[in-house]
């Protein structure tokens, strides 16, 4: 049985297409280079954070500190990196290493990731306030130049999203390294029976997630040109929702990087769609939740139909 299109991807793609069509119908002017860029450019950091979350979920954990961590990275990028690049880079590398160390700790002590990351979210949040007590700072010029560049024909936001999806797909789905990380989520016993260190693998998974989360924080500062200790707190839930929306499962190492990026785009677009509907902001969060439930319900129906077939 040859499958040309992964059926797990059909639903995320379809929901994104429906939403794009609805937005264009409500607001035909969005159907332009500038419009598309405006609709999607805030999706780039969310997509990166979603991929980071996906890597954690892939090894059967969940990261409740994603938003706080991305905020911390944003503070470092906005306040330290422009002034003292060497120190800034060292701090960001330190953040990635701290993530890897967390992964190792979780595996060695067999701790529940949900507790460890929830605790760490306060640590990241505190560190962010220490580094940048009040909102402000500036984005390094090169970062803004990249994030706000205007390549011909296709807007930056689309190029960046495709690039993120492609890199994550190659890394996670195609490379031997990614296979071993997914194996950890699928059957950790089999991995250790094969003589591989689960501690090393989990540390690597967390380290890789840390790299994507750092990129998310940097991309966010490149767009907003300033930092804030609370700038990305909602990324925690957005990233989890994005992974699930993109066809990922909470357990068993079954994830889709392309789906995760599409999920992040869908969630971002859902916000714009509701604004175009002139829905009062008070209702928007609830309506966003309703869209999420709708898509997930559709997914269940599709799964059951598949099972019956």
């Amino acid at each position: 049985m040859m499958r040309l299109v992964n059926p797990r991807l059909a639903l995320p793609v379809l929901s994104l297409a429906v939403l794009v069509a609805a937005v264009f119908w409500l607001q035909p002017r969005a159907m332009s280079y500038v419009g598309i860029n405006l609709l999607f450019n805030l999706a780039v950091p969310i997509a990166l954070a979603t991929v980071a979350q996906m890597i954690i979920i892939m090894v059967n954990d969940i990261d409740l500190s994603m938003g706080a961590f991305v905020s911390l990275v944003a503070c470092i990028t906005a306040s330290v990196l422009p002034v003292n690049p060497a120190l800034g880079v060292a701090m960001l590398v330190g953040c990635v290493l701290a993530y890897a160390a967390l992964g190792a700790l979780i595996e060695i002590r067999q701790l529940p990731a949900i507790v460890v990351t929830l605790g760490m979210s306060f640590v990241w949040g505190g560190a962010a306030v220490l580094i940048l007590p009040s909102p402000g700072g500036t984005s390094p010029a090169w970062l803004t130049a990249i994030m706000k560049s205007k390549p011909p024909l296709v807007p930056m936001a689309i190029i960046a999203s495709v690039l993120i999806a492609a890199v994550a797909h190659l890394l996670v789905m195609r490379s031997g390294f990614g296979v071993r990380l997914r194996a950890l989520g699928g059957n950790a016993r089999a991995v250790s029976r094969a003589g591989r260190s689960t501690i090393r693998l989990r540390a690597m998974a967390y380290g890789l997630a840390g790299i994507f989360a750092v990129l998310a924080g940097m991309a966010l500062v490149g767009l907003t040109t300033s930092g804030d200790a609370n700038i990305a707190l909602r990324y925690t839930l957005l990233s989890i929702a994005g992974v699930i929306l993109g066809g990922g499962e909470f357990t068993g190492g079954r994830v889709s990087p392309v789906g995760a990026v599409i999920g992040a785009l869908t969630l971002t677009l859902a916000g714009s769609f509701l604004s175009f509907l002139r829905l009062s902001p008070d209702w928007q969060i609830g309506a966003q939740g309703a869209i999420l439930i709708l898509v997930l319900a559709a997914r269940l129906v599709v799964r059951q139909a598949e099972k019956r077939a």
Binding site: G176, V179, R193
Partner: protein, 486 residues
């Protein structure tokens, strides 16, 4: 493959040597001073009960455990991996979220760099073609989309697949437990070829027929010791079973107990499924045929139609005994007692709360009746051996008042001693008026039934009763004449 093995050295040098190898877990001596040497070209049949030390012995050979005493050596290599020692475990060691070829990547070290997928796919496909000609498995299919039998085939192929260090000793622990007869025969033929070309195999099975078909030498284990080590020809089936400490019943006749027992009202079936399965009160009804021909599905459909998705009742119409313990049966982090009382919980509650004293009583009662070997029923369920876990699952079903017990090949990989005890239990319960629907892949179990429905391609191809339940009749109904069953 033959060439690869011949250049590894003379047939005289053994692949692995154990000298007085012992392994203790706390106070328990799982392995007690075993001397064993396995030479290239040998097929060693390893038999013994659960808990006799077979798995511990295998784990020492594969290097998963270090011996507490004694020595395990691999002449000509530093470690088990370099010595070409592979193991296929009973529990299923595949990652279900990965494809077959990706699973190979997890165990092999030299599949790196550009084009590793192509090489891995080639290794899996060529090995599957060699062992199971006519298989229809694609290496790019995720394992969770494969049937249980196909998963086992992939695992076996990974064990034999060529790699950095060629396979020189492959340990097969109950490799045919999910395979039907035709596929199992292909595997046995492959083992014989592999050994003829200088490979060595350790073959663990509770099916005596398979052991005698492939083994050149048989080691019998009991209580952590190797109590007999002789060429296979020096054993008889009866002698082998006797050596393990259990007397096997003469299985060539339908069990006398089943024949002698007076059945309930013969004219009124108490259940009838859309497939045509019928059963009367107090009857043991078997579902036979080749594995994967719709028996499990028929049982699941029947069971689900009898039970509610929404609430548990104190008097369920049917209960289910799982064969795939990990997937359908165990609550892995619960205690033995909680696992046992799960199905009967509705009878153990008072004002919405569980009556702990009643629960403990039920637990203790069934521990005694079915013989669960544990010092304390509040130990975690995973502390039990596989056979005892299965007993706990049986007790879970029998502790209810349900008149119908549905069993989905529950004896997979369970030792003969446990089996005999559970068979007796089933007969006693049937005599008390319970009806059993029993899907089994093993002929010995089918002979325990009063009536047997043989499945082929998802439909019933024969209904056998009483002394018409013979291996010949079941086989004749299982196979389609003139068609390639492989």
């Amino acid at each position: 493959m033959a060439a690869q093995i011949k250049d590894t050295g003379a047939h005289s040098a053994p692949v692995v040597v154990l000298e007085g190898a012992s392994k203790r877990f706390g106070a328990l001596k799982a392995l007690d001073g075993v001397d064993l040497s396995i030479a290239p070209g040998e097929c060693l049949g390893l038999v013994g009960h659960n808990g006799a030390g077979k798995s511990t012995l295998v784990n020492l050979i594969t290097g998963l455990f270090e011996p507490s005493d004694g020595r395990v050596a691999y002449p000509g290599a530093h470690d088990p991996r370099g010595a070409g020692i592979r193991a296929i475990s009973q529990e299923g060691m595949l990652c279900p979220n990965l494809t077959a070829l990706e699973n190979l990547q997890v165990v092999q070290r030299d599949l790196t760099g550009a084009g590793w997928r192509k090489r891995a796919g080639e290794r899996i496909r060529s090995q599957l073609d060699r062992i199971f000609p006519g298989h229809r498995i694609r290496p790019e299919t995720p394992v969770l989309d494969l049937t249980l039998a196909e998963q086992q085939m992939v695992e076996i192929a990974i064990g034999f697949a060529e790699g950095e260090a060629p396979a020189r000793l492959v340990v097969l622990d109950e490799p045919t437990s999910s395979l039907d007869a035709a596929i199992a025969a292909q595997l046995l033929a492959h083992i014989r070829r592999f050994c003829a070309n200088g490979g060595a195999v350790i073959f663990i099975s509770h099916m005596m027929g398979e052991i005698f078909e492939v083994a050149s030498r048989i080691v019998v284990m009991r209580d952590g010791r190797s109590i007999a080590d002789r060429p296979a020809a020096a054993f008889t089936r009866q002698g082998l079973v006797d050596a393990m400490g259990h007397v096997a019943e003469d299985g060539h006749q339908p069990s006398p107990a089943a024949l002698a027992r007076t059945l309930g009202d013969k004219s009124h079936p108490i259940l009838r499924t859309p497939e045509g399965i019928e059963a009367r009160k107090g009857e043991i009804v078997g579902l036979a045929g080749l594995a994967g021909h719709g028996q499990a599905e028929a049982l699941a459909r029947f069971y689900l139609s009898q039970s509610s998705d929404w609430r548990a009742t104190p008097a369920p119409a049917a209960v289910f005994v799982a064969g795939d313990r990990r997937r359908d049966g165990l609550m892995p982090i619960w205690s033995i007692r909680r696992n046992l009382t799960l199905a009967a919980l509705a009878t153990l509650t008072r004002r919405g709360l569980i009556d702990r004293a009643a629960e403990a009583r039920v637990g203790a009662d069934w521990q005694k009746r079915i013989g669960i070997r544990t010092p304390d029923m509040s130990n975690p369920i995973l502390s039990l051996s596989g056979g005892n876990q299965q007993k706990a699952l049986f007790a879970r079903a029998l502790a209810t008042t349900a008149p119908v017990v549905v069993m989905d090949d529950p004896m997979r990989g369970v030792d003969i001693g446990t089996k005999t005890e559970v068979y007796d239990m089933i007969r006693a319960e049937a005599a008390n008026g319970r009806t059993f629907l029993w899907y089994s892949t093993e002929m010995d179990e089918i002979r325990n039934c009063d009536r047997v429905f043989v499945f082929r391609n998802g439909v019933i191809s024969a209904e056998l009763e009483g002394n018409r339940i013979t291996e010949e009749n079941v086989l004749a109904a299982s196979f389609e004449l003139g068609e390639d069953v492989a």
